[in-house]
């Protein structure tokens, strides 16, 4: 504690007053000087503080409060603006999406129509080929069926020849075949 070094530092000039015992504060000889100096210093300090320092500190605090308020207001404005822009963007997005969907469905319909047309064309070609093939088959079958009669008459003539030893005439075989067929 700094006070503890006092006794070596303080001069002994005032011992005449201190020897009365009691508190040094009650040596009234020192009072007027202290009171006058205190009032003087207090007034100077009051003037300096109230005219110079306190307005500066108060002004800074006020400026800061104003700046913070302004910044908050600006931030709020920007937020509102951003929200509005966000809403616009969302609307545009929705519009773009519906447009894209429409385009896609149109393209799909077009593709489907083209596919159907092509399929129909292919089917027509196939049907034609099928008809040609069927005609050919029919011709072949008819030919084959005609051959069957010839083979049957040949076989009948041969069997008759083997069984009776007499070769049947063509007319007899034909007659018999026609009868059998009926």
């Amino acid at each position: 504690m700094a006070n503890d070094t006092t006794q070596t530092h303080e001069s002994t000039g005032a011992d005449g007053h201190a020897s009365g015992g009691g508190l040094p504060q009650f040596q009234f000889v020192w009072w007027p000087g202290q009171v006058v100096w205190l009032l003087l210093i207090f007034v100077v300090l009051y003037v300096l503080l109230s005219k110079l320092f306190l307005p500066r500190v108060g002004g800074t605090i006020q400026t800061r409060a104003d700046k913070i308020a302004a910044d908050v207001a600006q931030a709020r404005d920007l937020k509102t603006q951003a929200e509005a822009e966000s809403a616009t963007a969302l609307a545009e997005l929705a519009k773009a999406r519906s447009h894209a969907q429409r385009t896609a469905s149109e393209a799909k319909a077009k593709a489907n129509a083209e596919a159907a047309t092509r399929q129909a064309a292919e089917e027509a070609v196939l049907a034609e080929k099928l008809a040609v093939a069927e005609d050919r088959i029919r011709v072949s079958r008819d030919a084959a069926l005609g051959n069957v009669r010839t083979i049957a008459s040949d076989i009948a003539a041969a069997i008759t020849d083997k069984l009776t030893g007499v070769a049947a005439t063509t007319d007899e075989v034909e007659t018999a075949l026609t009868a059998a067929k009926a």
Binding site: M1, Q7, P24, W31, L39, L45, F53, R56, V57, T60
Partner: protein, 259 residues
């Protein structure tokens, strides 16, 4: 052991001629250690605010402390006196910072100005005179309402009015003695315990059973450390209390009608 009261002894530092002030008579305006302490306190405040009263929007450490002190007293004056607190704020702040600076300087230097009754009494009288002047200039003769509580049955006024007058007259006395008593008490106790450290240590050096004195010496040292911390709190608190009571007394006369 050194006289614990010796630290309050006033000495001349610079001898100046006496001045005959009107109304006060002959005054010895010599610079004493008390005046030096006051001047240093005032100078400290000016230096502090010269450095701290910067106008940065984002404050540094020193500026933060300055603004903290400003807000502390501003809130105090505003909450007690109301919207008119702004008018008295510089006065209250000057009182607060001046007392605070003198108290704190007393913790670091060899002399505490606020442990002089002359200083605390002057500050208390200054405060009360300000209250009286403000009261009369605002309310004129209506100041008497301060001593006549409203809403009291008239027979009780015979009891209440003297009590109110006495309580008003006692204010400067309590204001002066509270600060004076706190500061002198703390410094005397510190001094006594600090003296114990040395005297008990010397006793212990004698050897034998007296060696136990070293224990007392250690306890005293611990007490001095703890009391020093306590004294720092007291130094701040008493400045704050003085400012708060000044606000309360000013509020009594400023808002007399709602009293």
């Amino acid at each position: 052991m050194a006289d614990p009261m010796h630290q309050f002894q006033i000495n001349k530092v610079v001898d100046l001629p006496t001045v005959n002030l009107p109304g006060l008579g002959v005054v010895d305006l010599s610079i004493t250690n008390s005046v030096v302490a006051m001047g240093m306190a005032a100078g400290l405040i000016c230096v502090f605010f010269a450095l701290a009263a910067r106008q940065a929007v984002v404050p540094g450490r020193l500026q933060s402390v300055g603004e903290m002190l400003y807000s502390l007293v501003d809130d105090l004056a505003g909450s007690i006196i109301g919207h008119e607190g702004k008018v008295f704020f510089p006065f209250v702040f000057t009182l607060f910072s001046f007392i605070l600076a003198m108290n704190f300087l007393g913790m670091f230097l060899v002399f505490t100005a606020t442990s002089q009754l002359a200083v605390t009494a002057t500050l208390a009288l200054l405060t009360i005179l300000t209250v009286v002047v403000v009261g009369f200039s605002r309310n004129g003769i209506g100041m008497y309402k301060l001593f006549v509580p409203s809403g009291v049955p008239w027979p009780l006024l015979f009891l209440m009015v003297p009590i109110e007058i006495i309580s008003f007259l006692v204010r400067p006395v309590t204001l002066a003695l509270r600060l004076f008593g706190n500061m002198i008490g703390g410094h005397v106790v510190l001094k006594i315990f600090a003296g114990f450290i040395i005297s008990l240590g010397l006793l212990a050096s004698g050897g034998g059973i007296a060696s136990l004195g070293i224990l007392g010496s250690v306890v005293s040292l611990g007490s001095v450390v703890a009391l020093t911390a306590l004294e720092f709190i007291v130094a701040f608190l008493q400045a704050f209390v003085f400012a708060a009571l000044t606000c309360v007394y000013l509020n009594d006369v400023v808002n007399l009608d709602s009293h």
